[in-house]
Symmetry: C2
Subunit: 202 residues, 2 copies
Amino acid sequence: MITKKGAATRARIIDAAADEIRDRGIAAVTLEDVGRRSGTGKSQMFHYFPDGKEQLLLAVARREAERVLEDQQPYLGGLTSWAAWQRWRDAVVARYRRQGVHCPLGALITEVGRRTPAAQAVTSELLAQWQREVRAGIEEMQARDLVDRELDPGRTAGAVVAAIQGGVSILMSTGSVDQLESALDLCLDFLRQSTQLRTAGR
Amino acid sequence: MITKKGAATRARIIDAAADEIRDRGIAAVTLEDVGRRSGTGKSQMFHYFPDGKEQLLLAVARREAERVLEDQQPYLGGLTSWAAWQRWRDAVVARYRRQGVHCPLGALITEVGRRTPAAQAVTSELLAQWQREVRAGIEEMQARDLVDRELDPGRTAGAVVAAIQGGVSILMSTGSVDQLESALDLCLDFLRQSTQLRTAGR
């Protein structure tokens, strides 16, 4: 059982580590630096992260994964009209444009070891949660008769998340946000067209 | 100027290095191993790759990038009917299902240094060439009146390549090919619908 105060201290350490990594890069960060930055003593650092730097990095990765979704709120959680979908689309593009070619989460996952079960769990949970939220949005639109009810909301949400992932990975390789924009636009156009087609009596 | 025989020797070294990397991993590979496997002497290895292992790895990365597109042929080069698009879609899914969670090109790019200009050039050229080929397919379909001529073929091709990239990156994180399939299906459905909508007199 972790106390409220304990949880706050742990969160402070993780935030300090995230900032330290953003400023100086993962390789350069030491537990001492993070302790200093967060005002946490050595014994406390050891109390929360007894396994050392790797355990802390994994906690930071989990935090960065949460941030990926937080940065899309309140839009992602309220996809109930086309205007709302458009605002979400713009927020996603703006977030990744700001982030540019450096992905803190990607760097952490690479450092912890992309193929380790712990790193895979962080990535899988993020993708699953993201897909669930997009799916809820599609279901909302279907309930309002704005998206064709014949569409499989889970599969379609998976395609939307894949489109974003691909746009971001191209952004990170080339520095261009074009493919992210066109991939998201294609998905939104696809959803919009699904009802136009039904209305047109396909 | 490199002679025909010289080009063949160079290609043999690169193929041997690619096989060696597949069998034993990038870190373990030495120039001596590659020389032995390809039947190339030390002085010849030095002649073709005077800068050593890094230069060879970059040449292997270029070769793996070519293979990404070769593996999609003849389908990618002949997207002139819906049946052809479907065969291409199936070939892409089958290729990445076979490849699974290990991407030889990705590993090479990471090893050479994702942010180095040489690695970025390999990735950018692959993405640009891929997008050009998909774009040519969309333009073919537009010329045959099978895809709405109002669609921007370049932007749409960028979205399709992003969808594939994202599906593959999710496959590499989670082992599941689902998102790759649904992302490609969404893109194909989108292209098909574009004409249905026009026919329906949007």
